[in-house]
Structures are given as structure tokens and as C-alpha cells.
């Protein structure tokens, strides 16, 4: 692994943003719309349900945190798609650049995007609803990191599939994270799920993060066991996703598809 190669790729993606206002939109547009719709819904509901002061906090908080996961996942996929769209993949892989360096760079790009979008969302939430995310406390930080890692794992997995099956699988870049949303206990606790789905949810790192977040808001106690679960599962998923990507990369080289993809 060579740092200069990783930074070269990160640099390439940052320059892309500098030069392309449409891409900046991505960081502003969706968080803004999401926040408006959900924010107003929660404000509306809160009006009728007195005695549920945490309600607004739950929804907007959940929304912001889900967006972290989604951005992290998308950051990975889009960095890769950019290389396909610009027919640049071959240029990269005929250089000494390895898959580890490539993935490290995309993960870095993804986290930068998350930071950008989060600042945006948190700021807007404060402006519109006087919702202060940091009210939940600094205990949020390790949970957010876990969401980013879950996003990476899903993103790398989706990227591996797109690498293998080409642009027809591109839809995964936009949709795969949402497949996990129902069992990630984003807006409701795991306990509302039917038993079979509860089993699945317990295997999803994001579900532990959101359970943990609710525990923080409700009891103020730090839900250490949820954090341990989330972290443990994430380590397994991220490692598996990277192994899967490397495996798919080998398959693609066997099938000679690197030349064809996006060409």
C-alpha cells in the first residue's frame, strides 16, 4: 500500500467536486429535501401527541443518522462508477495501483462526503427545527463511525457486483442500502418486527446503532453492549466485503471483463 497512490485518487475525486456544481448539489439537495419532509411530519405529529417530547428527536435524529450510512455507501459506489463513466478504470489498473489502495481511496472519499453532507444536515436541522444533534451527546460519535463502516461494507459489496456484472447492476449503487433499512430499526425498535425479522435485524450492525441511539435518548445511559455488537458485526462485514471485492476482481480478470466494463 502506497500513500501517494491513495492520495492521488482522493485528490482526483476532490477536484471533480470543485469543478462540478451538480455534484455539490448531491450534498445539499437530498439532505435538504429529506429533512424538510420528515421534519415537518414529526412537527405535525408532535402537535397531536403530547407527552412524547422525544418523538421529534427520534425521527430527525434517525433521519440524519440513516443519511450517514447511505452517504457512506454511495460515496464508495459513485467513486467507482465515476471511473467507469469516464472509461478510466484501465488507466488505473495498468498502473501499480492495487485493489487495497483503490478501496482505501474510495473509503476516504466517502468519509469526506459524509462529513460534508452531515454538516449540511445538522446545520439545517438546527436552523429549521432547533434540533441539536449534539444534544444526544458525544456518545453518538462511536455510533456514527459504525454507521459509516456499515455504509462502506454495503458500498464495497455493491461495487464488487457492479464490477462483475457491469452497468446493468448500477442500480445497486442507489438502492442496496435501502434493502437493509427495514431491518436496521431506523425509525422503530427491533421489538416491533416479527420474530423472524428480529433475528435478521440482530445481525445488522446498523440496527444496533439505532437501538443504541434510542437508548441514549431515553435513558441517557451509554448502551455499551449495542456498541460492541455493532462494532463486532461491522468488522466481520467490512472484512467480508473486501474479500468479496478481491474475489470478484479476480473473477473479472479471469473473464477479461476489465476491458469491457464501461468501454
Amino acid at each position: 500500500m502506497k500513500l501517494h497512490r491513495i492520495l492521488a485518487l482522493v485528490n482526483r475525486h476532490l477536484m471533480l467536486y470543485k469543478r462540478s456544481p451538480q455534484r455539490m448539489m448531491e450534498i445539499v439537495y437530498w439532505p435538504l429535501l429529506d429533512l424538510m419532509v420528515w421534519g415537518f411530519i414529526t412537527v405535525y405529529l408532535a402537535r397531536y401527541k403530547e407527552g412524547l417530547p422525544a418523538f421529534v428527536t427520534f425521527f430527525i435524529g434517525a433521519l440524519i443518522l440513516w443519511d450517514v450510512l447511505f452517504r457512506a455507501q454511495q460515496g464508495i459506489c459513485i467513486s467507482f462508477l465515476e471511473e467507469i463513466w469516464s472509461r478510466n478504470l484501465l488507466n488505473l489498473f495498468v498502473s501499480p495501483l492495487g485493489t487495497g489502495e483503490f478501496l482505501s481511496a474510495t473509503m476516504l472519499v466517502s468519509i469526506l462526503k459524509v462529513i460534508g453532507a452531515s454538516i449540511m444536515t445538522i446545520g439545517l436541522a438546527y436552523l429549521f427545527y432547533s434540533f441539536n444533534l449534539f444534544m444526544i451527546g458525544l456518545s453518538l460519535v462511536p455510533f456514527v463511525i459504525n454507521l459509516v463502516v456499515t455504509g462502506w461494507a454495503i458500498g464495497i459489496f455493491a461495487t464488487a457486483i457492479i464490477l462483475r456484472y457491469g452497468q446493468e447492476a448500477e442500480v445497486l449503487a442507489w438502492g442496496l442500502a435501502f434493502l437493509f433499512q427495514p431491518v436496521s430499526a431506523v425509525f422503530y425498535p427491533i421489538s416491533v418486527l416479527p420474530p423472524s425479522l428480529q433475528v435478521i435485524a440482530n445481525g445488522i450492525p446498523a440496527a444496533h446503532v439505532f437501538e443504541g441511539m434510542r437508548a441514549v435518548i431515553e435513558t441517557k445511559a451509554f448502551p455499551l453492549h449495542e456498541l460492541i455488537w455493532a462494532t463486532g458485526l461491522n468488522v466481520i462485514y467490512l472484512a467480508s466485503a473486501i474479500l468479496f471485492f478481491n474475489y470478484m476482481f479476480r473473477v473479472v480478470k479471469m473473464k477479461g471483463l476489465l476491458v469491457r466494463i464501461g468501454a
Binding site: 501517494h4 497512490r5 492521488a8 471533480l16 462540478s20 488507466n91 492495487g98 480478470k253 477479461g256 476489465l258
Partner: protein, 242 residues
């Protein structure tokens, strides 16, 4: 003393239904321009992709710069480069930014001077700050060639590099590659469907057909061997099996 920088032995690539490359063996000598010639589907691109490690051979050995490609990918790829009409560069970046990214990937020292020199060599210095999207095909080809020379490669793999160039620019490009070769001892593996270009460029030609090498030699030797007038006639003879 002439020595080979590429050694290929019994290289084979079988895809599900086709054998794209069938037990070919050849060498490329230091400082030569080797032209790879053959009809569509002969296996030229597949061979080049295997030499670059982006397609895995079914069997056979590849040694580049004295090293086994399988085990020394990183070291070898740092010393070679590639350009082709089927690759492009990130569209939203300027010419300079794109070259800068690749200079960084290849860890080029004094990259500013290096890039500026290549830009003027390929007569694209005025396009330095132009967004890549706005380049014409020929301009893009020259940027891509500049990219391919950034790391002072010992071997350059060029798959139909002039396919989209007008005769004037194509001619200039050929001249330039020959000049660089003369100056730096660069070795080039070259493919093209332009027979005149192949005759003009290649010190030696490998004629591929259906994944097999059917003839090797200087352009003149090959023309003589197949009793043709020129390479074009030989090509037609072989392609049509007459």
C-alpha cells in the same frame, strides 16, 4: 548486446467458448517497436491485456524486464505504461489535473516540469487548462499518450493508439514515438489496422490469426514470405484464407 524485455512462453487464454490466444511464444527486444498485426478477433487486445496483468492467462508464462509478471505486478507496472483509443480520462478534470493525478499515482519526480514538457512535445500546451470533456478525439489521444509517458516507461503498450487520429496527427504521433524511442531506448508493442503505419513503424511484426502466431519478421520479410506486393495484400490473403 540485445536482450529481451518481454518474454512470453506458451501463453494461452481461453474464454468460455473461444480460445482467444493459443500457446503463443515471442520476445520483445529492448528498444524495438514490435507491431502486432491481425484481423479482428485475432487476440491482439487479449495478449496486451495479459501482458498488463488485467486479464489472467489460462496458462503460459510472462516475464517482463526479467521478472515474473504474476509475482511482481507492482514493480513491473511501475515501469511500463499503456494507451489505447478505448480508454479515456475523467471528463470533468482539466488536462493538467488529469496528468497530475497520474503523475502522483506513478510517483513522478518534478512532475510539473515533466507534464509541461510532455504537453509541449505533443503540441497540446495551449489545452493545459481545458476541461477534458471539451477535447477532440485526437487531442484526447495525445493527452492519453502524454499520460503513458509520464513515468518514463521502459515498455509502452499501445493498442490501436492512432485509430481515431486524422492522417496528419497520426503521422506526427508516429514520428514522435519514433523520436522518443531513439532518444530513450523505449520499447513499444504496437497494434494497428493501418498497414502503411505498421510497415512504417515496426522493426518487427508478429502476425496473429485466430489466436496463433502465423508469422514473425520484419515487414519486408513477411511481405516476401507470403509473396505479396505489400503488407496490405498479405493481410488480405491471410484474413481471407487464400
Amino acid at each position: 548486446m540485445i536482450h529481451s524485455v518481454v518474454e512470453v512462453r506458451k501463453l494461452t487464454k481461453r474464454f468460455e467458448r473461444v480460445t482467444a490466444v493459443n500457446e503463443i511464444s515471442f520476445e520483445i527486444y529492448q528498444g524495438e517497436i514490435l507491431g502486432m498485426l491481425g484481423p479482428n478477433g485475432a487476440g491482439k487486445t487479449t495478449t496486451i491485456q495479459m501482458l498488463l496483468g488485467i486479464t489472467t492467462p489460462t496458462s503460459g508464462q510472462i516475464r517482463i524486464l526479467g521478472l515474473d509478471l504474476d509475482r511482481n505486478r507492482e514493480e513491473i507496472l511501475a515501469q511500463v505504461n499503456f494507451s489505447s483509443s478505448y480508454v479515456s480520462l475523467p471528463q470533468s478534470l482539466t488536462v493538467w489535473e488529469n496528468l497530475r493525478v497520474f503523475a502522483q499515482i506513478y510517483h513522478v519526480r518534478n512532475y510539473r516540469e515533466k507534464i509541461d514538457r510532455l504537453l509541449s512535445v505533443f503540441e497540446i500546451a495551449p489545452l493545459r487548462d481545458t476541461v477534458t470533456r471539451k477535447l477532440s478525439t485526437g487531442q484526447l489521444t495525445r493527452v492519453s499518450l502524454a499520460k503513458a509517458l509520464l513515468n518514463d516507461p521502459k515498455i509502452l503498450f499501445l493498442d490501436e493508439p492512432t485509430a481515431s487520429l486524422d492522417p496528419d496527427i497520426a503521422d506526427k504521433t508516429r514520428l514522435l514515438l519514433k523520436t522518443i524511442r531513439a532518444q530513450s531506448g523505449l520499447t513499444i508493442l504496437y497494434t494497428s489496422h493501418n498497414m502503411r503505419e505498421m510497415e512504417e513503424m515496426s522493426d518487427r511484426i508478429i502476425f496473429l490469426n485466430k489466436g496463433e502466431i502465423i508469422s514473425t519478421g520484419t515487414p519486408a520479410e513477411i511481405v516476401k514470405r507470403f509473396e505479396g506486393e505489400d503488407l496490405e495484400e498479405v493481410f488480405l490473403k491471410i484474413a481471407r484464407g487464400t
